[in-house]
Amino acid sequence: MPMNLLLVVFTLLLNGCSHEPLYQSQSYVFGTLVDISIYGESEPRARELANHVQQEFQRLHDSLHAWKEGSDLTRLNAAFAQGETPVPVSPELAQIIQDATTLSTRSNELFNPAIGNLIKLWGFQRDEYSPVNIDADAINALVKQAPRMSGIVIEHGTAYSKNPTVRLDLGGYAKGYALDKAAAYLRQQGVKNALINIGGNIIALGQHGDHPWRVGIQHPRQPGPIAMLDLPDGWAIGTSGDYQRYFELDGKRYCHIIDPRTGYPAQGTQAVTILVPPAANAGTLSDVASKPIFISNAGDKAQAAQMMGITNYMVIDAQGKIFVSAEMRRRLQWPEKIMPKEKHVRLENLP
């Protein structure tokens, strides 16, 4: 697995001329970039802690990988496809499935990790994907067969699926889950200040010296941030964007976020960013809860946010117009040059 080699490194950032007690480690896990910043610990200890977290990420990645042969999830998916024979499932995976099922129900199944077959059909279950021929019949057939989380039955340490088309893909869950695990571990180890970033999903512990951790939100169509905010202790931030994994076919963009109702990639939205207040599952929620908002039609986005309990959110539509909830608006800072566009920023009132 050349792509998933755990590459742990550190960089002691020399910020200006002062030597900050800031330790940074970077690696490529979950098919993406993982950044861990630890502030205020001695360098050897920070390195040890970051290494441990990176190894934990690698373990989760290997276990929850949606298409690599030999991962726990792949084995489980194979069993689901075979029929209703219960197979043993680890307590951790059982817990994850149950939690994901709850969140899926709460989202009216717009967040649906059971549609792995659709994601595979669209060619996104590959490290290096390319435009696919759109097989409308296969897509429609799969939508009709309605793979749902509720089709999975977990009892006595075993699992089976009543619906053989259920194929788990935890792409919208695992990174957030890993954030929660990492944050809990670091807290338990007595770390006061850290910032963990897995492929853009970020959770904050404490702050960066005498000021809060500062996070930039990626502009969906340009390099660099569109806005910035302070991420307070315990808060998590997550973005679903059509720019993260996509391909273009005949001038149309097909992103990796599939609308389970149609079986086609969600259209009409460039990005949804949400902010989640401190909670044991803040990381998970930051990963999961942006999807239903992203998939919902323009008029239903506020309702989708409310459904997921999200009050801080920002939506950028296909035209690049920015909609920000009242609460989120207070937290965002716009770089001046972007904000001739502030006229596009609209306050979205929750119904």
Binding site: N15, G16, N197, I217, G224, G238, G241, T273
Partner: protein, 127 residues
């Protein structure tokens, strides 16, 4: 020579020229002075900082990643991915980076570019 008590009055056309000049100056400030001018380029290759280079040079770099050679160019105070062995070419499509804090990442080949200003404007990027 008469005194300077009678200052010449600009004619209507002069006012047009003066206004146009003012507009030009304002536009130049708005277009050229936005964003912090980046001075340095940091290239990360996998786990290590490959190099931190001045943008004040003309340079082409070939960096080897897991998939092969990625070409990066520094040109006129800007930097970009020019070619990459990855399939989706997101990194190349990112285009030129010219302002501090701008980032382009090639995940498949594990190479990232970041422009550094005098001060980092944020700790981490949500994307």
């Amino acid at each position: 020579m008469s005194g300077w008590k009678t200052c010449p009055k600009p004619l209507p056309g002069d006012w047009i020229v003066i206004s146009a000049g003012l507009l030009l100056v304002v536009m130049l400030f708005l277009t050229l002075w936005h964003g912090e001018h980046a001075a340095k380029l940091r290239i990360r290759q996998g786990d290590t900082i490959y190099a931190t280079l001045s943008l004040d040079q003309e340079r082409t770099l070939d960096i080897h990643g897991p998939l092969g050679n990625t070409r990066i160019v520094i040109h006129q105070g800007r930097a970009r991915f020019v070619s990459s062995p990855c399939r989706n070419q997101y990194c190349v499509h990112q285009g030129w980076l010219s302002r501090a804090s701008q980032v382009a990442i090639c995940l498949p080949n594990q190479i990232s570019l970041e422009l550094l200003g005098a001060k980092k404007s944020y700790d981490s990027l949500n994307y």
